[in-house]
Symmetry: C2
C-alpha cells in the first residue's frame, strides 16, 4: 500500500477546477504533481488557488503526455469536455496509470470497446467518477435494497431533470463564442447524453455486470423547442443562437431492459423551465419502493399513503459510509459526493486494488449515448446493449470489499474518509 | 331539447352499481327505465337501492336488447366487464341510442374501427366516461394550458399507479372463483390495459384528434413477479393462484409520439405495493410545468424550487366547471368526477349534441391496449396508431361549446350541474 500517491489532473474547466480545488487538492495522501489544460487562463486560475492555500504549486502543462511519461505519477483524472476522454484514458492505462474520468457519454460505441480492450491488455483500472452513486439518497436506497427490504426489484426510474439554459448552456455566449461543450452537442445531436447520474446508482442497485446486465434499450424523444424559445426570449431574435435549429430533443425517454427482467426508465430533461431539480429516482420492488419526487420510502406494512418521510427513513437506513461522512468535517462539494467518489478512486490507487466502478461499468454507462442515437433514428426500435464483460457478468463477484464498494454493503471503519 | 331523458343501464357490478346509485339515479332529468345484468343478485342489489330511496324501480332484464328495442329509451350506459363493450355500443348506435361506455381498452383493433364505422353510418354519438378528465387537478391544468401559461407543450406523463392486489384483484377469490374481469386479463395477457385515466386528460390537453394526433407508440415491460409474490404470501403456496404464471408485467411503460412532436409517457403499475396512489400526471411546456408527485405547478418567473403549491395554484386557476361544482352540493362519487362525467353525457343527450369525448377520442383511447400488445411482442418496436378520424383531425374544431367541453374553456353558467 502506498502512503501517498502522485496524480496528474487533465482539464481545468469549471467542473475540473472545482473538484480539484475543493476535494483532491485537500487530501493529505495525494500530491497533485501536474495540472494540464489547453488554456492559459484556466491553468492560472487553478495554480493561483494552490498558491492561495499555500499548497505546493503543481507543474503546469498543455500536453497531457507529459504526465503520462512521468514514471512517478500513479494516476490521472480526466476532466476534459465530453469528447475524447476514453482516448486519453486508454493512453493512461497503457502507461500504467490508474485513470478516473468525469461522467458523460462516449461519442461512439467503438470507444467503449477500446476502453475494455485496454483494460484487458494492461490490467490497469479505469473508473467513471459517478458522484451520485455516493449521494445520501442513493446510498440509503442501495442499503435498503441490498438488505432485501424492498423484496425483489422490478423497475427503476431516474432522470437528469435540470434546467440548464440559463445556468450553463448560454452562460458564456455573450461574446458569440460557444464555449460550453454541451451546447455543441445540443446543436448537432439528439441523444440521451447525460444518463449516468441516475444510471450509475441504478446499475449498482440492480447488480448490473455482476449477476445481471442491461440487454437492450428503446429511446423516444419529444420535439426540440425549448432552446429556441429561450434564446429568442433572452438573446433576442437576431442572435445567431435564435436562428439555428437544435437537434437535441427537450425530453428524451429511454427504457432499458435487463437480463433479470427489470426495466430502467431514464429521462433527460434539461432545456425547459422546471419547478425543481430532480433525478426522479425511484425503485419498485415486491415489498417496497422509493420515490424521489414525493420523498417517499415505503416498506410493505407501513400505513399508506406515505409521503415526505425520506429524512426519517434515511436516519434509520443510512449507508454506513454516509453515517461516517456525516460525522466528518464534511469536506468537498455537492454535499460530500465529490469527496466520496474521489476518495473511492484514491483508495483504490493507494491499495492498488480494483475500483468500485470498474471498466465494465464505465464502458456500459458510456455506451448509452451512442446506443440511444441508434434507437432514436429508428423511432425507438430496440437496440442491443453490448455485453462488455463478454459473458463474465454471470459469475462476477464484488472484487472490492472495502468501504466504497457499491456492490454490497461493507462497513469498514479502518479506512478514514478524511486522511 | 329534452326536459327529461330515459336511459337503460347495462352492468351492475361494483362500479356500475356505484355510479348508477350515487350519480345517475339522483338526476332529476333522468329516468332510469331499465337495469340489466346477467346475475340476479346484482339486479336485486340495485333495485333494492332504488326502493330504499323511494325512486321508482326500473324494469329489470338480463337481455340488453330489451332496452335497445324500446323506442322510449334515449341512451344507454355500458358498464359491463372489460370485454365486449364496443359490440354493445355499436348495436345501441344502430338502434339510435346515445351510448356511454365505462373506461377501458378494447380487445382488438377491429372493435375500434367498427365503433367509428357505426358512428359514421348512424351519426349517433358514443362517449367513454373518462371521469379523470373532470378531476380538479386535470381540469386546472387544462385551464392553464389552454390559457397558454405553460407555453408550447412538449411532453406529458401519466400513470395508473394503484396497488390493486389486495383491494380488487383477489377480493372475491376465496371461493376459488375468478370473478374480477381484470384478473383474467392479468393471467392471460401482457399489455397497457388501463391507460385512459391519464391518457384522457392528456389527450384533451394536447388537442388530440383536433389539430394533433397520436402517431405511434412503443411499449416496454418489466418482469411479472408481484402477483405471484402476493398470492404466495397471502393465499398460501398451495392456492391455485400461487401456482399459476401471470403474463401481466408489473410495470408497463408506453411512449406515445404525437404528430405535433410531443411525447406522452404512460405507466401501468398495479401489482406492487405502493407508498401512495398516483396518476403521475405531469405536463412540460416551454414556459411552465406541473408535477403531481411533488405537487408542483410552476410558471416561468416563479422562484424556484417550487413544491407543494398545487392547492394554492388550483385556487387561482381552477377550471370554471370545478369552481361551480365546488359551490354545489358536491354530489356523486370520487370527488365529483363521476357526477361531472355523467352530466356531460346526459347534457349531450338532452340537447342532442355531440359528446365532449366523442367516437374518435373513444376509439383512439380504446385502441391502446391492443397496440401495446403488438409493440411488447416486438421488444418495444414502434407501432403505428391508426388515424381513426381518417385525416379529419387536421381541421376538426371543438363542436361542443358547452360547459363540459374539454377542447376549450367554456364558461357556461346557464346549464346547472345539479338539475
Amino acid at each position: 500500500m502506498k502512503e501517498k500517491i502522485k496524480i496528474g489532473w487533465i482539464g481545468l474547466g469549471r467542473r475540473g477546477h472545482f473538484v480539484l480545488s475543493s476535494c483532491v487538492a485537500l487530501m493529505k495522501d495525494v500530491e497533485v504533481k501536474y495540472i494540464c489544460d489547453l488554456l492559459d487562463d484556466k491553468l492560472k486560475r487553478t495554480s493561483d488557488s494552490f498558491i492561495e492555500r499555500k499548497i505546493p504549486c503543481p507543474i503546469m502543462t498543455k500536453d497531457y503526455r507529459d504526465i503520462l511519461n512521468d514514471p512517478e505519477v500513479d494516476a490521472i483524472f480526466v476532466m476534459t469536455g465530453w469528447s475524447g476522454r476514453p482516448a486519453i484514458a486508454i493512453e493512461a492505462m497503457h502507461a500504467g496509470k490508474y485513470c478516473a474520468i468525469e461522467v458523460g457519454c462516449s461519442d461512439t460505441l467503438e470507444e467503449c470497446f477500446d476502453l475494455v480492450k485496454a483494460y484487458e491488455e494492461t490490467g490497469v483500472p479505469v473508473m467513471m467518477l459517478e458522484n451520485c452513486c455516493y449521494c445520501r439518497r442513493e446510498l440509503a436506497i442501495l442499503n435498503l435494497v441490498k438488505q432485501g427490504l424492498f423484496g425483489e426489484i422490478v423497475h427503476a426510474t431516474g432522470g437528469y431533470m435540470h434546467y440548464l439554459n440559463k445556468e450553463e448552456l448560454f452562460r458564456e455566449v455573450e461574446n458569440d463564442d460557444v464555449k460550453h461543450y454541451r451546447l455543441g452537442y445540443y446543436i448537432n445531436r439528439n441523444r440521451e447524453s447525460y444518463p449516468t447520474h441516475e444510471l450509475g446508482p441504478i446499475s449498482k442497485t440492480l447488480s448490473i455486470n455482476r449477476g445481471n446486465r442491461m440487454v437492450r434499450l428503446n429511446c423516444i424523444t419529444s420535439k426540440s423547442v425549448g432552446l429556441k424559445d429561450y434564446t429568442k426570449e433572452k438573446l433576442g431574435a437576431d442572435s445567431k443562437y435564435s436562428k439555428m435549429d437544435y437537434k437535441q430533443a427537450d425530453v428524451v425517454t429511454t427504457l432499458v431492459t435487463c437480463a433479470n427482467g427489470q426495466t430502467i426508465q431514464l429521462t433527460l430533461d434539461t432545456t425547459l423551465p422546471r419547478a425543481h431539480y430532480s433525478r426522479n429516482y425511484s425503485i419498485r420492488g415486491t415489498r417496497g419502493m422509493s420515490n424521489e419526487d414525493s420523498k417517499a420510502i415505503f416498506i410493505e406494512g407501513m400505513d399508506e399513503p406515505v409521503r415526505d418521510n425520506e429524512l426519517e427513513m434515511f436516519e434509520k437506513y443510512d449507508h454506513p459510509l454516509y453515517v461516517e461522512y456525516e460525522k466528518s468535517k464534511k469536506l468537498g462539494g455537492h454535499g460530500g459526493i465529490d469527496w466520496l467518489v474521489c476518495r473511492a478512486f484514491v483508495e483504490s490507487v493507494k491499495n492498488q486494488t480494483q475500483t468500485p466502478i470498474d471498466v465494465y461499468d464505465t464502458a456500459t454507462w458510456l455506451s448509452i449515448g451512442a446506443l440511444t442515437e441508434m434507437s432514436i433514428a429508428q423511432n425507438g426500435a430496440p437496440v442491443d446493449i453490448p455485453d462488455f464483460t463478454n459473458g463474465k457478468w454471470q459469475n462476477r463477484e464484488p472484487v472490492v470489499r472495502q468501504k466504497y464498494c457499491l456492490d454490497e454493503i461493507v462497513d469498514d471503519p479502518n479506512t478514514p474518509i478524511i486522511p
